[in-house]
Subunit: 373 residues, 2 copies
């Protein structure tokens, strides 16, 4: 049953693959539907700049695949503009180096879903890890170092980039134009183009929910510092606290560590306060921190604040105390970001766009709006 | 500050890249160390079959990178056999389609760590998703369908494959020889070559730990059925139960669902038994199932069995009841599997090998051996 891949014959050469990509892009950019006529071969050669051989081979392959159709006396027309060759497009994902930086389970899952949505669209994801220090430092050269990326962009192996990478609130591509479309996915509020979880909406919902439950003193538990990268989040939190006449207790956000251990430290900090100083409501912006916080409080005392936590819909957890979850849909975030990027790969003339994805809402009436519960 | 990638000039052509790969492989397969002499250009041409131009360009690049060295009257020698060009090797990862099959957080994290360890070695990971039904069915053709893979193997874009894929206990590559080295990483006990978590060791440790705590009636909580794929695991469990004179209660493993919800169902099943029928020890083979199980038991009753759970060291969780964790090191698993694969990419003559990685052990003396606690 063992069968070797035929290395000679059957495969498309690099020029044929490029010509296929150019033809598919032409159809997409001109919004040609089924039955629409393609320019003739001489026009295509002038437009796209390939040899007759490459163009013919590419068109034959696209006819085989059902993307194009050839009819006598009519010429070549579009058959099914959705039927692009499986694996034709390769999407690079730029990401931080997990061996240098903390990678949260959210990061892992988002990366996974991004890959899955690229794969589901029959494209091949390729991962480029930021690897500082590979290239000798050159003053003024702010290009981040991703091994293999430059060569792959030069040879046309990569058709678009999904960025999970930002340093000091700057994307990988601000200092450098890769020459292919780029979209961001994650929590970075200022991405030039991409999809972003709306943590502002999430934290405002959480504060309103705590206020509706009668809480007056809110503790914010988050491992993310109030940096410029999250100014919508922090602005939203401050505004919602003010609007609901709440005070923040303790007077600065707690949590210095990640994961359950960070949560247990928060529990110890809160229990060290006198009962009157303790918050009566907690807004927790990480579900794994929340597991440790609940376990720590449950084991050590009968202090029972109202707890609302950010949770990831695709990785549900259970807690040692009653907790209201406001869920983030990582799958939907990845789907949206991949859609945006692939639309730009097929039609590079599309403009940049930034969308914020709200958390998953369950209908709980409060005042005149819906909040999550 | 915006700078476009130079598409013409500066980049290595595909033949130069192939010649670089061939030269690096030659050095590795012959185990040439620093200072060792390379065959002369005529011999290299005969050995490797490239044009003089491609060979010269490749050697120049490898000298630039510090892999080779040219010295007057000595010729070309090996400088640093570890200094291969960043991004030269591309490693494909074969994986199931997450939009068709259940993907556990373990799967996501392992995929992430595999990518990270490939990236840390300055190689580029590319993901190929199994996508059944793309190709018309041909009798006798058992090749799994991974969009883009065949073309990438034909064009030499992919140098090795890491498999996370198995169907009915058969790997993606048993029915088909991809022509490049393949290693497996995960829990599949019968992988021809690769690294596998030793779930047998884990479950035996768990049973011994429960016996040492005085448990006599053990409940096994696992969502994995006792299939041939896990015969070591099931064999180990049965043998350890027998050796310690324990009985399994209820008489078949419980848990039909995944995640915390599955755990809550197990809690309900156990609470439906009469107190005398309930197990006094639980071996749980999934930490997220364990979060729901503990929360369900804690909320509903004061039934408190001894609980041991399998946990992922890289994603610690906290539980509503005291739980002993036996941790699996996903990072070490990925590291080992990637090392095995890259050794074979550099020297394809290396033989297949299978290793089982034991769970992380904490010293707790029982009888004459160390077990996890």
């Amino acid at each position: 049953m063992v069968r070797s891949v035929q290395r000679n014959g059957g495969g498309d050469g690099p020029q044929t693959v490029r010509a296929q990509k150019a033809l598919v892009r032409l159809v997409q950019a001109r919004r040609l539907g089924p039955g629409a006529q393609l320019p003739n071969q001489a026009q295509l050669r002038a437009l796209l700049g390939f040899s007759n051989d490459s163009l013919s081979a590419a068109m034959n392959r696209l006819v085989e695949l059902g993307f194009l159709q050839r009819r006598r006396r009519v010429g070549t027309t579009v058959a099914d503009p959705g039927a692009t060759p499986p694996g034709l497009w390769r999407i690079g994902i730029l990401t931080s180096s997990p061996w240098e930086e903390f990678v949260s389970p959210f990061d892992s899952q988002l990366l996974h879903y991004l890959q899955a949505h690229i794969g589901r669209r029959l494209c091949v994801p390729c991962i480029y890890f930021h690897t500082p220090g590979l290239r000798p430092a050159v003053p003024g050269d702010r290009r981040p170092d991703f091994p293999g990326l430059t060569a792959d962009l030069e040879s046309g192996v990569v058709d678009g980039l999904m960025s999970r990478f930002s340093v000091d609130g700057e994307s990988a591509t601000e200092a450098w134009d890769p020459g292919v479309p780029v979209c961001y996915a994650g929590s970075w509020e200022e991405a030039p183009c991409g999809a972003c979880i709306d943590y502002r909406e999430l934290v405002v919902n959480g504060v309103e929910l705590l206020a509706a439950r009668g809480c007056r003193r809110i503790g914010l538990v988050s491992a993310a510092p109030p940096t410029a990268e999250f100014h919508r989040f922090w602005g939203g939190f401050t505004a919602a606290m003010k609007e609901n006449g709440l005070s923040i207790r303790p007077d600065r956000p707690v949590c210095s560590g990640q994961g359950p251990q960070g949560g247990r430290q928060v529990a110890a900090q809160l229990l060290a306060l006198s009962p009157r100083q303790r918050p009566d409501g907690l807004m927790v912006v990480d579900d794994r921190i929340c597991t440790g916080l609940c376990a720590g409080l449950r084991e050590a005392s009968d202090y029972r604040p109202v707890i609302v936590t950010h949770a990831n819909h695709q990785a549900p957890l259970d807690f040692a105390l009653p907790v209201t979850r406001i869920e983030v849909d990582i799958d939907a975030l990845a789907d949206r970001a991949v859609s945006m990027l692939l639309a730009r790969v097929l039609d590079p003339t599309l403009a940049d766009e930034r969308v914020y994805l709200p958390p998953l809402a369950v209908a709980v009436a409060r005042k005149d709006r819906r909040i999550c519960a």
